[in-house]
């Protein structure tokens, strides 16, 4: 039987096992929305802005490893989605974004709500398609899901002109897909793995540095086994938090611009560095020239060959799926009779403990003002360390990363690569939709939260009891911090006057609002909020305006050139 293009789109989503689509209707996608109306297998979540829809699908994916799906209309629908798509692209999140397009005969004629969506999104998608024939919808959707979730994952956009959703074709969903131009590797090269193991076994001052790739390939179990078997120290990038249990003794905390003293020093001083699913980006290693003095041997495991030797030359590259490569390495290590130099390792640990004793994350616990770090610590206690935590971008993001100890992967959800303010709340919605009943906290600031505040309305409609923890310092805090350090205290446009009354705002959207002004009220407020299991609670914490994020590696400096408290 022939189906319309719109029916085919829905059938494809059903075939892929998609349960939730986040979206916003409009002219070019009306036929697709009509099909949503006629079925109940795929649920649609109506956000209040397309950016919110894409971030929600992104949060959904990050917390579950499923492909996140968003649906937007042509023109402004697509351009509003771009920030969300670029966010997912930078963090390699598997997503399929379906966008409506003006009817085929109108393309190129500057039609109403027309924009070259494929052109605009090309630099920030793993791949994109413009479907020009109804017969191609099914195979294109199959390819889109396959591309999004295989190899190094990423967002894939499918642009479908309105007339194509109306045309009819036989529906056949392909069982499998093969592309002669796309064959992502999985297994690492055995010779390279052997060379890596030799370096690992010869190491005197080893260090394991892991990123989001460990989470994406579900390799945190293998990583923990490897790190423990070798008794090596381990650090995670911002994207990699939760990849290794943060409460473990061998964990040195996050590294990088706001990483711990011990993690950054160990990165700098190690003689063998094992980089796993991480990409040596500028926020992680600072100045590459400084990083190479002293030199060290580097093993780099990554699924994307273009991540290897991009910023930093490495000695043993291993291209492959992190999980497969780690499994091979574990197999070889457990059958090897060679052992690492235990005495050397012991004195390395002694050095690390000395660095650790510096207690680089200390802050004034006696302050009469609410310290933002303390709010995150209390959140950790109140949630038993088991919440999903999303964040926006800025100081609060760094404090969340430093003070919430993530023991499991997929619990820490933030925009690491693109650094998108406005990500936190919609991402938290996606997490909550995917994990009903779970504790979901959105750590944010009074600046970031206002970038997608409209999604409070979506939370009301779908009963999403997200807990919003706003660390409100009346400043765009990270901007202010840089201005304090590097721009002579000239706080140019980083102060926000005329903030809304967030309590009333939350109430206006039908939620619970709280304003917390004293340190002694923090814990009680958090407990009260989480006790309201079925309500969204907006907690407006009035925090110390002058607090800065430490340690800090200033831009262009090396990892061991940190500013400490």
């Amino acid at each position: 039987m022939e189906l319309t293009g719109a029916e085919i789109v829905l059938r494809c989503l059903q075939e892929e096992g998609v349960e939730h689509v986040f979206g916003y209707p409009g002219g070019a996608v009306l036929f697709i929305y009509d099909e949503f109306f006629k079925q109940d297998k795929v649920k649609h979540i109506l956000t209040r802005h397309e950016q919110g829809a894409v971030h929600a699908a992104d949060g959904y994916s990050r917390s579950t490893r499923k492909v996140g799906v968003a649906l937007v209309t042509s023109g402004p629908g697509a351009t509003n989605a771009v920030t969300g798509i670029a966010t997912a692209y930078m963090d390699s999140i598997p997503m399929v974004i379906i966008s409506g397009q003006v009817p085929t005969p109108a393309i190129g004629l500057d039609a109403f709500q027309e924009v070259d969506t494929v052109g605009i999104t090309r630099p920030c998608v793993k791949h994109n398609f413009l479907v020009k024939d109804v017969k191609d919808i099914a195979s294109t959707m199959k390819k889109a899901f396959y591309l999004a979730s295989s190899g190094r994952p990423g967002p894939v956009l499918v642009d479908i002109p309105k007339d194509i959703t109306q045309h009819r074709a036989e529906f056949v969903y392909p069982d499998s897909v093969s592309l002669r131009s796309y064959n992502p590797v999985t297994k690492g090269h055995p010779g390279q793995i052997r060379r890596a193991l030799q370096l690992i076994l010869d190491a005197k001052r080893p260090m394991v540095y892991t990123g989001g790739g460990v989470t994406l390939s579900n390799a945190s179990g293998e990583l923990a086994e490897f790190v423990r078997m070798m008794n090596f120290p381990c650090t995670n990038t911002l994207m990699g938090l939760g990849g290794y249990p943060a409460t473990d003794r061998q964990f040195l905390g996050m590294l990088g611009m706001h990483g711990t003293y011990e993690a950054n020093m160990a990165m700098q001083e190690c003689d063998v560095l094992v980089a796993i699913g991480a990409r040596f980006d500028d926020r992680v290693i600072g100045n590459p020239e400084h990083f190479f003095n002293p030199a060290r041997k580097i093993i780099h495991i990554d699924i994307d060959p273009s991540s290897i030797s991009k910023r930093v030359r490495v000695d043993v590259p291993i291209v492959g799926n992190v999980q497969d490569v780690l499994q091979e390495m574990l197999k070889a290590l457990s059958s090897s009779r060679e052992r690492v130099d235990a005495a050397a390792l012991e004195s390395w640990w002694k050095q690390i403990e000395e660095w650790r004793s510096r207690d680089c994350l200390k802050y004034d616990r006696q302050s009469a003002l609410i310290k933002p770090q303390m709010v995150v610590e209390k959140l950790y206690e109140v949630t038993g360390g088991d919440a999903f935590v999303t964040s926006d971008v800025g100081q609060h993001q760094m404090w969340a990363a430093q003070f919430y100890k993530f023991d499991k992967p997929r619990r820490w959800i933030n925009s690491g690569g693109l650094g998108t303010m406005g990500f936190g709340l919609p991402a938290a919605m996606g997490v909550q939709v995917a994990n009903p009943g779970a504790k979901v906290a959105c750590i944010t600031g009074e600046g970031s939260i206002q970038m997608c505040i409209q999604e409070l309305s979506t939370c009301k409609q779908y009963h999403l009891p997200v807990k919003i923890i706003a660390l409100n310092n009346r400043y765009l805090g990270m901007v202010r911090q840089w201005q304090e350090f590097f721009h002579g205290n000239r706080y140019s446009e980083s102060y926000m006057d005329a903030l809304p009354d967030f309590v009333k705002l939350a109430e206006a959207y039908g939620h619970v609002g709280m304003r917390i002004e004293k340190p002694e009220d923090v814990e009680g407020a958090l407990k009260e909020a989480f006790a309201l299991e079925d309500r969204l609670v907006f907690m407006d914490f009035v925090t110390d305006q002058a607090e800065n994020v430490f340690p800090m590696v200033p831009g262009g400096k090396g990892l061991s050139e940190m500013i400490l408290v």
């Binding site: 494929v118 052109g119 090309r122 630099p123 793993k126 791949h127 413009l130 591309l147 592309l179 002669r180 131009s181 796309y182 994307d304 060959p305 273009s306 290897i308 030797s309 991009k310 030359r313």
Partner: protein
């Protein structure tokens, strides 16, 4: 250093813009780019002349390989290869220039493919350097118009780029 990169990709709408977009987004140089379908119409072959350090060339090749529609990429400079470019030059050929212009075309083994009472159009094929040499050799004021295809390259002997 100058490199000639050859690649095979799916002959699909938008494929060229993915390659050119990649070069501009990542700040890579393009000296020339030429593309046309192969004997298999589902495939396009592209030749890109670029320049950069070894690290940059390595990244260019990796990034090209990462494009979903790109099937194979080689750096022709990795081995023996032949490079050719074609140029059409319209030169002044009035009474004063006529003989000398013909002589220059002959020296460079060009062919005159269009003649009018005021001009010759010369077809020249060779390496990029040879075409440059021709333009340098002839009086600048005589050149009315030039059009070049950009370099194409192919490996010598058994060295091939095919799927």
């Amino acid at each position: 250093m100058r490199h000639i990169i050859s690649l095979l990709m799916e002959n699909e709408a938008g494929a060229l813009s993915r390659v050119s977009g990649l070069f501009s987004a990542r700040g890579y140089n393009i000296e020339s780019l030429s593309v046309a379908p192969t004997e298999d119409p589902s495939l396009s072959r592209m030749t890109i002349v670029t320049s950069g350090s070894e690290d940059v060339i390595e990244q260019i090749i990796k990034q090209l390989n990462k494009l979903i529609e790109v099937i194979k990429v080689i750096d022709l400079n990795d081995g023996e290869h032949i490079e050719r470019e074609m140029m059409l030059v319209k030169v002044k050929a009035g009474e004063a220039e006529r003989e000398e212009a013909k002589r220059m075309a002959d020296i460079f083994r060009g062919r005159i493919i269009d003649v009018s009472d005021q001009s010759y159009t010369i077809e020249l094929t060779g390496t990029v350097a040879k075409l440059d040499a021709f333009l340098a050799a002839i009086d600048r004021g005589w050149i009315l118009e030039t059009v070049r295809t950009g370099a194409s390259g192919i490996g010598r002997g058994a060295r091939m780029l095919r799927i």
